[in-house]
């Protein structure tokens, strides 16, 4: 199943739907999706590089490269490849405005 985003769901498609937010917009994902899978099922990237113009979408998926850190509305960042998406979680592709 081709998604609206980068990934293609090849198997395990009969899971329940969870909802979460990216930059305030509600998106759907499946229970058991990592944050990385969930975000890339409806978008092309996780964040923008701090050191170049290009967007980033993760690299190693095993917690080693640290390319997939994303912001949460309430502040702390999480590693998208090794965190499961949860109902109602609010994520951002840019740092919160309160961040110094």
């Amino acid at each position: 199943m081709i998604t609206a985003g980068r990934i293609v769901r090849l198997a395990e498609r009969d899971r329940s739907v969870v909802h979460f937010f990216i930059d305030g917009e509600m998106r759907g994902a499946l229970a058991g999706d990592t944050v990385l899978t969930a975000m890339l099922a409806s978008g092309q990237a996780l964040r923008k590089s701090e050191f170049g113009p290009e967007p980033r979408a993760g690299f190693c998926l095993m917690g080693a490269c640290q390319d997939c850190w994303v912001w949460q509305d309430e502040g702390p960042r999480l590693r998208a490849c090794s965190t499961l998406v949860t109902e109602g979680i609010r994520l951002r592709t840019t740092p919160p405005e309160s961040w110094p």
Binding site: T37, S49, E54, A64, W69
Partner: protein
């Protein structure tokens, strides 16, 4: 260690090596602590999907399903019976003098050890290709994890590049899973692959299985390619530019690229605990010094791909050996090892064959254009690395401080080999002479609050 308290043995990593080490210690009556980054034990190769996924072990692990199930069941039973302590979803971020700083979902804790078994595994050994910083470029391991643990392909049209067993395996798994694999581009030419045969013959069935998988790739597979660059637009990768073995320029449209040249041993904790290293010419990387049992000295033992790149079967044996070495050093009775050591020697020969047949593309890395990015974390370019050699000489850590290559969040895991190769070329010396980037704690990024809270 007092005379009454049992020795505290801590194992880092719950892949094949860590699980076998733990089981061996439990059999001898010890109660090891196992710290692992995964939610569930298994490691990367036998990684288990989250709860609620329904594919069978056969679908997930293919010919290795029985081994995966045995290890999972063994670990789960030991954990359930309270024979070991399992710290899941936890990273060891610092290690020194009998103390490990462990970052888990509930923050930081300090774990003490008398003996430490490091079974930290490996990550993909990559090489920079111009354009590899763009979205849609992943490691081969990432493509496999996405398929196994999430049931997804990371793109609609996929090109895999690199060399080694994982290139063929991931390609075949993606094709079987229904992904659109446009091309599998192997930088090793056929004649080089044949040179590895003497070693590969040590495990004829495994070599044969590889050939069968490769046959499934059909005309997608090309040996002896030269990788030119990854084309991208504002959204991510759009095409792979390459030359075939005959030198013809080719362009393959794609939105995902998976890259990898076999594996890079994960050695940061071995480094922090003071292990010595040797540069291995054949593997083209630094590996920790150990004896045949995995002893690194100082109460530290290493097992699995983090010490020697022997694959999952070798890791199971090495895990047992490291545990036995540890027991023996503690003066406890140990089981016989001769069969394990013999098998390990055969696996070692096979793995040398792999290293020879599927080399890392050192010459291509040396010829990288100045504007090619070497460090994906901070977009440090090859030109900056070369320039820092002119200013400060050809020593790895000097280049690191001048150019910032290797200072990013991945702690040099994905740029070190390329950076050192560039420095060696510029300074006219060997990578061995350039040296190794020193490891620094924390080996994973940690929130400052967790460090302060620890007191």
């Amino acid at each position: 260690m007092s005379e009454t308290a049992p020795p505290r043995v801590v194992i880092v990593g719950a892949g094949p090596a860590g699980i076998r080490a733990a089981a061996t210690l439990v059999e001898a009556g010890l109660h090891p602590v196992v710290i692992d980054e995964g939610q569930r034990a298994g490691g990367q190769i036998y990684r288990r999907p989250p709860a609620g996924f329904t594919r069978t072990a056969k679908q997930l692990y293919g010919s290795e399903a029985a081994k995966a199930c045995t290890l999972h069941a063994l670990f789960d039973r030991l954990a359930k019976d309270g024979r070991l302590s399992h710290c899941a979803a936890s990273s060891v971020i610092a290690a020194q003098d009998g103390r490990l700083h462990v970052l888990g979902e509930d923050g930081m804790q300090v774990v003490f050890y008398d003996r430490l078994i490091l079974a930290t595994g490996a990550s993909d050994r990559v090489a920079p290709v111009p354009g590899w910083q763009c979205a849609g470029v992943y490691s081969l391991g990432a493509a496999q994890i996405a398929l196994k643990a999430q049931g997804v392909a990371l793109g609609r049209r996929i090109v895999l590049i690199g060399s080694g067993p994982l290139l063929t395996l991931v390609g075949a798994q993606l094709v079987k899973g229904g992904a659109d694999v446009a091309a599998v581009l192997d930088t090793s030419p056929w004649r080089q692959q044949l040179r590895g045969l003497w070693g590969l013959a040590a495990r004829p069935m495994v070599a044969l299985r590889g050939l069968v998988l490769r046959a499934r790739l059909g005309s997608r597979y090309h040996a002896g390619v030269t990788l030119e660059r990854i084309e991208a637009d504002g959204r991510g990768a759009t095409a792979m530019r390459w030359r075939d073995a005959g030198g013809r320029y080719r362009l393959t449209l794609c939105d995902m690229i998976g890259m990898g040249w076999h594996l890079l041993a994960e050695t940061h904790l071995a480094d922090l605990t003071g292990c010595a290293f040797d540069y291995d010419e054949q593997w083209r990387q630094w590996l920790p010094k150990i004896d045949e049992m995995g002893r690194a000295g100082n109460g530290i033992y290493l097992a699995g791909d983090g010490a020697r790149l022997l694959g999952a079967d070798g890791a199971e044996i090495a895990g047992r050996l490291a545990a036995v070495a540890c027991l023996s050093d503690l003066g406890l009775p140990t089981p016989s090892l001769r069969a394990g050591l013999r098998k390990l020697a055969r696996l070692e020969r096979f793995s040398r064959g792999l290293a020879c047949a599927f080399p890392w593309p050192a010459e291509t890395v040396r010829a990288l254009p100045d504007d090619a990015i070497v460090c994906r974390c901070e977009n440090v370019i090859a030109g900056a690395v070369r320039e820092s050699v002119e200013r400060g000489g050809g020593e790895a850590n000097r280049v690191k401080s001048l150019s910032r290559v290797g200072m990013g969040r991945c702690q040099a895991r994905y740029c070190q080999l390329a950076a050192v190769e560039l420095v060696a070329a510029q300074a006219g010396c060997t990578p061995d002479a350039v040296g190794r980037f020193r490891g620094q704690a924390p080996v994973r990024p940690a929130p400052i609050g967790a460090l302060l809270g620890e007191g």
